[in-house]
Symmetry: C3
Amino acid sequence: MPSFLHPDRFLGTDPALVAIARPLYESVARLPLVCPHGHVDPALLALDERFPEPTALMIAPDHYVLRMVYSLGVPFERLGVPRLDGTPSPADPRDVWRTLAAHWHAFAATPTRAWWEYQLHEVLEIPERLSPATADAIYDAIETRLAEPAFRPRALFERFGIEVLTTTDGASDSLEHHEKIRTSGWKGRVVPCFRPDAACKIASPGWWTEIERLSRVSGRAIDSYRAFLQVLAERRRRFRELGATSTDHGVESPFTHRLSAQAAANLFEKALSGTADAADQAAFEAHMLVEMARMSLEDGLVMQLHAGSLRNHNPWLAATYGPDRGADIPVAVDWTRGLRPLLSECGNDARFRLVLFTLDEATYSRELAPIAGHYPAVRLGPPWWFHDSIEGMLRYRSLVTETAGFWNTAGFNDDTRAFLSIPARHDLARRIDARYVASLVADRRIAEDEAPRIMEALAVGLARDTYRLG
Amino acid sequence: MPSFLHPDRFLGTDPALVAIARPLYESVARLPLVCPHGHVDPALLALDERFPEPTALMIAPDHYVLRMVYSLGVPFERLGVPRLDGTPSPADPRDVWRTLAAHWHAFAATPTRAWWEYQLHEVLEIPERLSPATADAIYDAIETRLAEPAFRPRALFERFGIEVLTTTDGASDSLEHHEKIRTSGWKGRVVPCFRPDAACKIASPGWWTEIERLSRVSGRAIDSYRAFLQVLAERRRRFRELGATSTDHGVESPFTHRLSAQAAANLFEKALSGTADAADQAAFEAHMLVEMARMSLEDGLVMQLHAGSLRNHNPWLAATYGPDRGADIPVAVDWTRGLRPLLSECGNDARFRLVLFTLDEATYSRELAPIAGHYPAVRLGPPWWFHDSIEGMLRYRSLVTETAGFWNTAGFNDDTRAFLSIPARHDLARRIDARYVASLVADRRIAEDEAPRIMEALAVGLARDTYRLG
Amino acid sequence: MPSFLHPDRFLGTDPALVAIARPLYESVARLPLVCPHGHVDPALLALDERFPEPTALMIAPDHYVLRMVYSLGVPFERLGVPRLDGTPSPADPRDVWRTLAAHWHAFAATPTRAWWEYQLHEVLEIPERLSPATADAIYDAIETRLAEPAFRPRALFERFGIEVLTTTDGASDSLEHHEKIRTSGWKGRVVPCFRPDAACKIASPGWWTEIERLSRVSGRAIDSYRAFLQVLAERRRRFRELGATSTDHGVESPFTHRLSAQAAANLFEKALSGTADAADQAAFEAHMLVEMARMSLEDGLVMQLHAGSLRNHNPWLAATYGPDRGADIPVAVDWTRGLRPLLSECGNDARFRLVLFTLDEATYSRELAPIAGHYPAVRLGPPWWFHDSIEGMLRYRSLVTETAGFWNTAGFNDDTRAFLSIPARHDLARRIDARYVASLVADRRIAEDEAPRIMEALAVGLARDTYRLG
């Protein structure tokens, strides 16, 4: 079937530039997908069941879609989002689909639109544009597709050409689905990533639960700071056994600080006695980032730091529908002062690798590119979340490349929980990289014969190398 | 007369893009002007007198012009600006005009230049470019124009195609000019906007005067917090009777906070006793923003918030020539944490509408687009003040659209006190919108047939809808 | 020899724009180089000795080169950087050159690449591209060049067409090399710039040494604040005698504050008694900025302020290899509140001139352009350091010009300690200015006949005027 989508889409607005960008894009378009960071549920690939209907597949796991329609005044009830108390949404899936179609015009110029079009037209092979008039027919057509074996998760994984898919897993996760994939005989490479955030939030309501889960999964009592560190080290070992090459850490502020072992132990005792407060937690988290860096230096796990999102900005929404509903809002961050303690301890050591992600674009050129362009341990992660978009990626390249170059960046992350969007996101990123590199050629900033090496690095090489996935 | 100005000006630098942008611009160029926020003096339209000479018309009310020439070393004495103590400027209007012409080259690439050229060439039909050599002839030619009935305020209002013009009026304003316009039989729609800032600055020298004015205009004693709220509610009612659909709030920091009724009352008592200090004022203002949001939720007035300008940065200038002389300088703001209390209370309610304006462009993509792309109540105001410029508008679209889409933005505001510049500003905005939308088409991000709907929304639809002016 | 470099490099990616930019660039390409701020060692021109081998000439003084290669995991030992304790690098210069060549691909799209290509191909007339394969041959070819009299410093100074070269000199500097140049009979204009930072850091370990040097060079005891000010004023006089027209001040934060004379004297007494702490130093530095502004107002020296670099972010590196090794990382700054005290005192006085430099690009449009577009005394310095790059310069113009215009900016600074890079940097800046001005012409924002005046101002006029070097 000829593609519904224009072959030159997103390659630029100037025909002269598009002519340079097209072959650059084509040179990497069919390379494997290296996916070093994302949020796909490993159960999907462990169980390999057929996908439910279109709404469960494409709307429910996509908070980009939910947040936009919610912002236009449509309540979550009409979008199929269940309440935290268990009340299901009264809307049936087809109605939710129609509601999205009715608001589809508002997605014009968003990356969601670009990703969805790829999913609909390239992955699901739907020839019509989504609109109120076509919503039902498209819904039915997707249902038909999903019944075919070629649209099961593992078949799609292979068709997408995924070389490796990293999920994100809590420190206390049993990793049972990862084990199941490994022992299933299927050859797809799916690996976990160690995310210990919940275990470090010593003043939050869920901390005890997480400590108990950690204790259970490791078979050890966590009755001291020393035991806590040992359990974390042991969990990291287990993650590595199942293929992990990285850890991930999400914080509101990238503040790091080295406590003395005694001071850290004292804070942990306070936490165990239930008396730790917000300031204790901030100090403990800042210390644990340095401690995790030290462990990474020893066990080789690449450390990722995602900083600057104020989670659950909307208390009513969080209380009613739970977290991850599109209500996390970025704040300004100070990487320069925040990371100094951690980098002073580990930043000059080439065994250590730290990948940084920001939502504060002002820090690209002011802080992150200078840091990545100096410290051997640091690489810049690709544009994160809201900024993983056409103009967001172009801004990133423009703000980062002149100071840090390409070789201090980490390649692409799709960072998605929407499985079908994986190839869509890689395709978009490869197009934008081709467009940027083409602009360097046209501007005589690089020679034409240098472009292919850069394109290969941006598409796959830097991701493999940064995340030690080679 | 054929236009002096190039028909494709500002539509882009790439001929291929200009060819797409031109018909998009033309499709909206002659639509009515919806003006939901600005600073035109309603007396102008109430009295409909002929304009005085060119300097009083075009230089005196234009602080963009005054600030630039002042920055080049020309004292206000030579620019016709009177001192606060009543000393008039010794410069005669024609000399001021010549002084501007002598510095006109320094306006190259500023929006002031673009607006002025439209005013001179399109509105006033002057065929020459402004320069020291042409200054006198142009001055004379404008004088001639201003004597014609077609150049009186109401005639121009109609010729400009203004559908509605919103002024900005203090809470204690008598609104007599608005009443006069209403009762005059003239059909032009001119409506007030409720701006209560002065009434909330409980530690500032002018507060008592404002409370007395409020008391007088409402015919009620303001001897308690409760009475204060009742007077404000009553004033809002009066504004609505005269057509108001919005309020406006200007603050240095967008910090909001809900005090208990008792705590608010206590602060108000302190103010009445003359002992409120700066911290009291900050707390009271933060609380009053939430209180105003609550009233908006009830009475339907759209709430505007302009944050981040440090007023009167230059104390000598303020003391000598008064406020609004071009010496307000922006500061960084924290919308995410600042707005959280207000949005927690009202942000999920579709009856409420909040339009946000920033001078801190770093917050477009970091905070404002994520907030507008989540909360049903929030829309992003257009680029404000310094950023209401060609490249400023392009940055705004680039930084906002991918996260918030077009339908979470508020359309255009001319925000001017220079009456003649109204059509100039709308024309410029429509050109830049056409240019941006054309780039989406050229880049295959939207289909060509989607562009007209977007253009109509940006030119008139979103302003009507956001401000409930339909 | 025909140039190896493409004549249209960096002029843009759109052929239609390049066609406009080319003649604009050519109209200024051969104008003299006005160099009002930089870090060339005056001994170079005082002694006029032949340059050592290529690594000492081109790598050792170029911290842009060192930082990038270090960031890729190459230790300073392999880059020829000696330890602070005197241990020389074991790498011989040719090996260092080869190491750079092996990492040269990582400089793609950096300004270092553009500057180096100009140095190699235009200044040193090397026809090959640098690569591992050509490294040795290029090294040898440069050695040959450096033996020729035409490649001695003064010959190059003249060939480069340098009209004036300003160095940067500590307040206590003997200025002997400047004296030597003046008395040598050579006509090259090389002038010092007064930088008193070290004398104001009253709590830092090196302060006493600086005070002793100041005392020695001035022949006066510095036993009081009053004596301190007198010595500084006397040093400024001496700098002016040797041609200085400017001072320079480097601070982490642009915080200014006027202390009473008594309070300043008390802090100075504390410093003399060795008990000043970090807070004292911050207050003293903030005060001294105002004091220096006052002296500038009197003696006419143009004041430069470079703010926002956190020096020596990497303590191990600083302790092992010393400062200026590429480990200074920018931080966010608040110019609006920080400069208010200084500008309140001196900002309206046209005798005073203050040139501001930032590493926080978010402040270009938010703070600096509004400040420069209002205060008669203020001009914006060109993009500094990391931002003195192709896209950095384009961002600067885009973010600054619409609010401040061209005539509130300071022209170009090469700001380099790498002598050979001076013409490379001016050439790049002139190309980017031509590109930006061409975009204004193409967009009909300025008339074609206005462009030459702007180009001349950006290339030489504004630098001469701002720094009073005419």
